[in-house]
Amino acid sequence: MLDGLLSFFSFIGSRTISAVWRLGFAARFFGMLILLSGSSFRRINLTLREIYFSGVMSLIIILVSGLFVGMVLGLQGYDTLARYGSEEALGVLVALSLVRELGPVVAGLLFASRAGSAITAEIGLMKATEQLDAMDMMAVNPIARVVAPRFWGGVISMPLLAALFSAMGVLGGYLVGVVMIGTDSGSFWGQMQASVDFQRDILNGVIKSMVFGIAVSWVAVFEGYDSDATAEGVSRATTRTVVTSSLAILGLDFILTSLMFRG
């Protein structure tokens, strides 16, 4: 009885301590990353290569899913708005839901699973094959040489991908709403422009996507750097990247939305 109780408490204690330790390690890692990221701008080619791998290679999935999300919004929005006789507000519905929420969030989730997992797997495999240790031996700091360019590549790519997602979504909504169903093109764009505010809606959406970019890239490089140096450890780290960064995106989205759009 007493043994069971003790092992219960020690289980909770060890989990708490390891969770806090990991959080502290992640924070110190982030600090190191920022301190050592000068070289990723001095040797810009390293960062450009990472923008290519995490940004350009994600273009297809971002553009196609943006288009389809916009088209679905157009269909569903039309169906609902037609009940209230306000089909001309379709442009507003599509644009606001994309620019404020769906653009940054869905692009962030796609980015986490497309690029974040790849970053983690790459860094984790480098660690498992002792490439990071080899760099350390050659007096090359692996955080400055490997981690920081991948982090900044993700941070730079993410807002651009979110903007592309929203733009494609608006075009998709236009295709379905105006070209396919036949609502008026003038009121589609006109009402959209009248009610989408640059500062309140678009700028806040860009800020959201920047925050998500930082969160996803940070989680991805940290999980890769912290992974166990085995094949199993790399696979578990990759899974953890997708789960943690997706949850981080959704949680941060709630916090940011309540700060930005309250009242």
Binding site: G55, V56, Y84, S86, V99, L160, A167, V170, A194, F198
Partner: protein, 157 residues
């Protein structure tokens, strides 16, 4: 992968990303169009503004001529003091009539200006004297119900 190929693709990526941002700001958002040109300020007092909100449009003959800048309660006479930013191209006569209208049955509320015949225009910073409050639907319904009930009573006798 050769370096120049990476450079070209990253360049294309950044350029279309920035173009998407521009598209969102100018075509979807209001950065391009609805900035008022050197606006001037008008004020109006209403007994009841209903659901009027800041940034709601001010229309004359259906054309947007300004936007509402702020709404406050005048603690002297307990009226709503609405400050409007008007497009400098449009001036209105002194006896302009300001009403609070609703676009459509459930649409947003806006201020409609009906120009009068006075030869002199309101100066910038001036006050529109003739106003009409928002129509509050509940009041309208209760008035209708009471008058219907009175009519019913009169018919009985």
């Amino acid at each position: 992968m050769r370096r120049t190929t990476i450079d070209i693709w990253v360049g294309i990526f950044v350029v279309i990303g920035v173009l998407a941002l521009l598209f969102l700001s100018l075509r979807v958002g209001n950065l391009g169009s609805s900035k008022l040109q050197s606006p001037y300020v008008l004020q109006a007092r209403f007994d009841n503004i209903g659901g009027l909100k800041v940034r709601a449009p001010i229309k004359s003959a259906g054309v947007v001529v300004g936007r509402i800048d702020s709404i406050a309660l005048d603690s002297q006479n307990y009226q709503a003091l609405v400050t409007m930013k008007m497009d400098d191209r449009y001036r209105f006569p002194k006896d302009t009539f300001a009403t609070i209208n609703t676009s459509g049955l459930l649409g947003e509320q806006y201020i409609g200006l009906e120009p009068g015949g006075d030869p002199e225009n309101i100066e910038p910073g001036g006050v529109i004297k003739k106003t009409q409050s928002a129509v509050v639907l509940e009041k309208l319904i209760s008035q209708f119900m009471f008058s219907a009930a009175e009519k019913g009573n009169a018919g009985d006798k």
